[in-house]
Symmetry: C2
């Protein structure tokens, strides 16, 4: 039986998960593929370190990058190292050495995608990345092939399992942010430095990859509105629940007459909405195509085996001998996105003001909102003061972010307002 040789750069969580699935399902994979997949070599920092999965004698364990990349008998290089610099060397080196490449590295592809896809195309090699978005959920393949004939109207995704598990714990178990983050770290969902996950950057990287696949355009990170969840106050989670909403970190892209609007924000999501039920480390992607209509995919967004499963699907696709399809478009180099300014976004909004309990406060706030054409859907002034102030919550009808920011800045300047307005978007 024909043998396809794999070389893994990195043998941490995902690499171990991949090796486990390949070992456990080896016979099954041969039945699917008609070929034998072999982990021929593994690149690690310390080849002597003891590991939870013991590789067989067919696998060479090395710390030498050059010999790893140039080995003649490797067919597919799998890049599973975090960061940008070393992975960039590995991916370009492997492509130049004539190998196909599989990577789970969304930061690398978000930042260096254009040059890497150009190189892969010039060399006619595959550069596959199913595992880079939403773990085991096959969203890359779905956008690249199954929905390729659709124009995508929007994508709305819970793309970061760490942030989602923190928000779930705050919502369902009454934890505050610090406790929920600690819990996520203990569960292995959050890293020691959780910045990329909790500040929305990881979700933004993934959204950039989804925008490429869905729209064939390169959306610059700098033009994306991004806000994370580290500032989410349990009090707003509680108030949102009382109004029938859950707070979720959503990555959203929408097309408006040929221009794209994209961002990552914590949103209030109606509790009957299908995304409101996605809890814990799960991911979910809801999208709408002009043919298929609404579609949702749901599954584990991270973890050794789910991510390993996604890496394996890329390996099998490349090993099957199909001509590689990296971007989902004939062009290897995609045009830069035609974007709509983030401040022109229109959506519904949630505001919480903390004001002194004195006559005229509500009228003054409502007056500013009215001047900016921000129409109020619901107001609740809480009877019980919090500290010196009284919380006043507004839910608005659809309003433009530019108007909202101007109004909030004006309201924050009032002497009776005790702390800056809390502001969330509503899905």
């Amino acid at each position: 039986m024909e043998q396809v040789n794999i070389a893994l750069a990195g043998f941490g969580t995902v690499g171990t998960g991949l090796a486990r699935i390949m070992h456990e399902n080896g016979e099954w994979i041969r039945r699917r593929l008609g070929k034998e997949l072999v982990i021929r070599r593994v690149l690690v920092r310390n080849p002597e370190k003891e590991r939870s999965f013991v590789l067989g004698p067919e696998t060479e364990i090395t710390a030498d990058l050059d010999s790893f990349l140039l080995a003649q008998d490797t067919d597919i290089v799998v890049e599973l190292i975090g960061g940008i610099e070393t992975p960039l060397r590995i991916v370009t080196g492997a492509l130049r050495a004539g190998k196909h490449v599989v990577t789970a590295n969304k930061a690398l592809l978000a930042e260096k995608g254009p040059e890497l896809f150009r190189l892969a195309s010039e060399l006619q090699r595959g550069l596959y990345y199913e595992a880079s978005v939403a773990g085991g959920i096959p969203i890359v393949q779905t956008l690249k092939e199954s929905l390729a004939g659709n124009r995508i109207r929007h994508i709305t995704g819970i793309l970061n399992g760490t942030a989602n598990s923190i928000l779930s714990d705050m919502t369902n178990n009454g934890m505050d942010y610090a406790a929920a983050l600690g819990q996520a770290q203990r569960n292995g969902y959050a890293e020691a430095d959780p910045t990329m996950d909790v500040e929305g950057i990881d979700a933004a990287h993934k959204l950039i990859l989804l925008i490429r696949l869905a729209y064939g355009q390169d959306f610059p990170l700098a033009r994306m509105g991004i806000k994370g969840i580290s500032g989410v106050d349990p009090y707003d989670i509680e108030l949102a629940r009382a109004f029938g909403y859950r707070i979720k970190l959503l990555a959203i892209v929408k097309e408006h007459s040929g221009r794209l609007q994209a961002g990552v924000f914590p949103y209030l999501v109606g509790e009957d909405h299908i995304l409101a039920r996605v809890d814990g480390p799960f991911n979910s992607i809801l999208l709408e195509g002009n043919g298929v209509g609404p579609i949702m995919l749901y599954g584990q967004g991270a973890g050794d085996l789910p991510t390993g499963s996604a890496v394996l699907s890329d390996i099998m696709a490349l090993a099957s001998g199909k001509p590689p399809n990296n971007t989902g478009f004939v062009e290897a180099v995609l045009p830069e996105a035609s974007t709509l300014e983030p401040e022109l976004t229109t959506t519904r909004h949630y505001f919480r003001f903390t004001a002194l309990d004195r006559p005229g406060v509500l009228a003054a706030i409502a007056g500013v909102l009215g001047e900016r054409s921000i129409s109020i859907a619901q107001v609740v002034q809480k009877q019980h003061p919090v500290g010196r102030g009284v919380p006043v919550v507004f839910l608005t009808h659809t309003a433009q972010v530019r108007d909202v920011e101007a109004a909030l800045s004006q309201i924050n300047g009032f002497s009776f307002v005790l702390s800056p307005a809390v502001h969330y978007r509503i899905l």
Copy 2:
């Protein structure tokens, strides 16, 4: 630009939807594919009939099957005619004439799949069928490629939009079965003769296709337990809701140490379960792989554009020039499934008995259940009699279907039991 010529057999709902998407997204498809898709000919019974979508001058409309099949310049034949006999002639004729084939016909593939896949393999042609299961949801591609490296533990699907919309109307709008069926017919979700949909046969056909893709085995329809929804009483929907359940028609396959158990039954689904929220004509498939863990896909199970989108994805895959992958396995001919007898299924159960209101009734029923090792989780005896009888509802712990059937048959024989027990499985 290279041109790929399509021939459509049938130009009803799905054919029109396909033509609409191809027309609207033509430029987009060229950007994805680098080729131009042309509907070169259409086979219809009456070429003179006026149609809601006007085909261009490049399309030849014909009623002559032989000339349709043998046209030299067709690359891909799309079979969109219902039934078995004519579609079988079209699919085999097209394959023999060297064309690739796309079909949305689950009945054809469930019944004649083995011989058709053998023929396609001998002739090295593609036989693609994304649209045959769950409309626009890309479940065929997902099982065939994205999850190909996974062993699938179970598939649990809402695969029939007609049955689901009837049950949704009965549950959410208080309709009885006849009214909900009439509503579904008026909405275009149900055909004039709804037998295939409401009796679970259509869902069983789709389940057979999913079993092939997930397990590489041919599961004979005759060995599948099948029960539809035409007998569902609104009273049980109401009682189920009071217990926290919704009634859904589910198609389920599970693997137990290498043997498959598959069936289609109305189930009580806990209202917090992700499938309980799938309402109306939507479909959803929940499955679990040994790598990916649980995954769910959700979308429209029928309709002109969603189904047209699925057909288009097959056309684009075949037009891209990839070597066809029909079954997802190296073998073109799959072995017959190793099955587990349906009566050995273990699951939780719901029983409703209608009994005379006299002492000892509950004890007698509970006694029979106990003798058969059916352990009771909950019992409710309703105070208000229905006609002469009093309803008694049991929810059991896990019990084997064989024991349940024996117990129910014994209980139905009691003189105080006024009508045969109503029985549902609980997910």
